[in-house]
């Protein structure tokens, strides 16, 4: 697909989609949404780039190796955060029982480990979407 209007509109609208996705991920513990929803929105923005600019340009921006590495790294990050709960003396992914800082509800970073876990889930879901789509449409 080689259409100037589609390319310009895509280039204009992608930052807004990504900012909204990051907003949903960061506010996952105090408002509706969370890692899965925000990660899906982030992944949809990257898929939109692939649709408008073609697989060649998208593979330059986000190569297959990098997206697979990010995907595996995010799930390792999730497991590491879970193991921190065990090390601090609780169950897997234990939060308040292990004595993390809870904060108050009006601040962005509260509720202990939940923002870090949500961040990992968001990156994982976004890179999984991109990897799936690139695997389907790439030429043999």
């Amino acid at each position: 697909m080689d259409d100037l209007i589609v390319k310009i509109i895509t280039r204009t609208i992608i930052p807004f989609i990504q900012v909204y996705g990051i907003f949903v991920i960061m506010h996952g513990h105090i408002s509706p949404g969370g890692g899965f929803s925000g990660g899906a929105i982030l992944g949809a923005s990257l898929i939109l780039y692939t649709l408008a600019y073609g697989y060649k340009d998208a593979a330059k921006k986000m190569p297959h190796k990098v997206s697979v590495m990010v995907e595996s790294g995010a799930i390792l990050w999730f497991m590491a955060i879970g193991l921190v709960g065990i090390i601090m003396g609780g169950n897997f992914l234990s939060n308040k029982a292990a004595g993390f800082y809870m904060g108050n509800l009006s601040m962005l970073f509260n509720a202990g480990l939940i923002p870090l876990v949500t961040l990992g889930i968001g990156i994982k879901v976004a890179s999984t979407m991109v990897t799936l789509f690139h695997t389907i449409i790439e030429e043999d």
């Binding site: 929803s37 929105i41 789509f133 389907i136």
Partner: protein, 78 residues
């Protein structure tokens, strides 16, 4: 609000039957995207906004694109 709810549910059922009856797979995928969009509005009416957000992003966006990608690699007609 009650009337809008009834209209949306009837549209949802019509969409679900049409997806199953259509022979053209690309048309079926587009009807399925409309189904997902109406389902997202219905989740919002049922006071589940996070499910609505996920349905709008996954059901109407990514699933449709993945299905179209698969159809472009295989046959279009059933």
């Amino acid at each position: 609000m009650q009337l809008l709810n009834i209209i949306l549910v009837v549209f949802l059922i019509v969409c679900a039957i049409a997806v199953e009856r259509t022979k053209d797979l690309l048309g079926a995928v587009i009807i399925f995207a409309a189904y997902s969009l109406v389902m997202a509005v219905l989740w919002l009416f049922l006071r589940a906004p996070d499910i609505a957000l996920t349905e709008a992003a996954i059901g109407a966006g990514v699933t449709t694109i993945l299905f179209v990608g698969v159809i472009s690699r295989t046959r279009r007609m059933e």
